[in-house]
Symmetry: C2
DNA sequence: TTCTTTACGGAGGGATTTCCTCCACTTCTA
DNA sequence: TAGAAGTGGAGGAAATCCCTCCGTAAAGAA
């Protein structure tokens, strides 16, 4: 594979993540190509089917998550709730909507979601998050009924883009919700 | 207008609210008709254009909101934070996603959103909510930087339906977020 | 630089989806 | 029960989306 082609491919994944998160997992692939500044043929050459692209996006997001857990986890013993706060803010800045949307795309057809290829791809992220939560629990840093999936879905929900009902209004709602969730997650039982 | 026709019309509005909230403001009108158990022609006779239907849905939602404010507001003086909690839980059970989505639909074309017909239709709800917030503020019952639009957008965000990434997982996230938001909204500055 | 190989872009045909009207039929109500 | 009011869904027009094909452009080796 030629060097510039590799860059382009990664670039498509990156932009696809944004477009998926912003316009849903069923956008026209032409929109993804346009957003990536790339012809539609190039997109199809790299990702023959929509599912290939979705898988790549999910894969990429999963790596982002495990990376964030690793980095935030380093401060786990010295400052547990600081580490949690850090991790949460990292997660909030990702486009997790693309991940849940991508997975949701398969929900329609598949009967047993747990066995779909995508569900398996995301497993490392779930595992990493869960073990971090377990560790935080030992430190009594977060409420103990939190699960990795709860956190992922909550963050995806909060950060999902949304046009406000009146121009210029309520631009800070996601930040408010993030603050609320942090407060709640730290809180008792 | 015949008696059964009025019932049908109201029924369409009700179902449209759910379908809009669940599948976005740009669903096929056929889906709305099907959900309402009604032929597509009936829908078009009642609402010649998509905007007519959206307007009706928004109108209906606005009335729901002002109604909820009235009811919850009755306990305002005796138990302010109880009233707030009550109102919030009422709002959470509405399909506010339909409202924000409907308004967002116009955001694409209109330059000045404040002057669109829909933005004016929602005004009563915003006003009612804002005056209740002002009252609650006098009682020091909620944080003082809350605005009606913040609340509406936050509730819409929280209650927007979302498929969880793995079957059976994280079904309680909206409830958790609602709890978090309540906690936060009561909290200090 | 030159040549070969790899990769690109976008037109466009086919399939699908959505819109919306038209009219034969059904259901109210006076 | 007659007439008015209302209904459903087939189906044509238009828009949208998918995906391939092929002439052109750019990268990298010699």
């Amino acid at each position: 594979m030629r060097a510039d082609a590799v860059r382009r491919r990664q670039n498509i994944i990156e932009h696809a993540k944004h477009v998926f998160a912003e316009r849903g997992g069923d956008v026209a692939l032409e929109a993804v190509a346009a957003a990536s500044g790339v012809g539609i043929a190039t997109l199809y050459r790299n990702f023959p089917s929509r599912e290939d692209l979705v898988r790549a996006v999910v894969q990429d997001t999963v790596e982002q998550i495990t990376g964030a857990v690793d980095e935030a986890g380093s401060a786990l013993d010295t400052d547990p709730s600081g580490a949690w706060k850090d991790l949460l803010s990292r997660l909030m800045s990702m486009k997790l909507g693309a991940l849940t949307d991508g997975l949701a795309l398969q929900a329609g057809s598949a009967r047993d979601l747990d066995s779909t290829p995508l569900a398996q791809v995301q497993q490392p992220a779930v595992d990493a998050l869960n073990s971090m939560l377990a560790e935080l629990n030992r430190h009594r840093a977060v409420r103990k009924d939190l699960t990795a999936l709860d956190v992922i879905v909550a963050v995806a929900t909060i950060t999902r883009p949304q046009v406000s009902p009146i121009r210029g209004a309520a631009p800070g709602v996601p930040e408010q919700l993030a603050e609320a969730y942090l407060l709640w997650s730290l809180g008792g039982s």
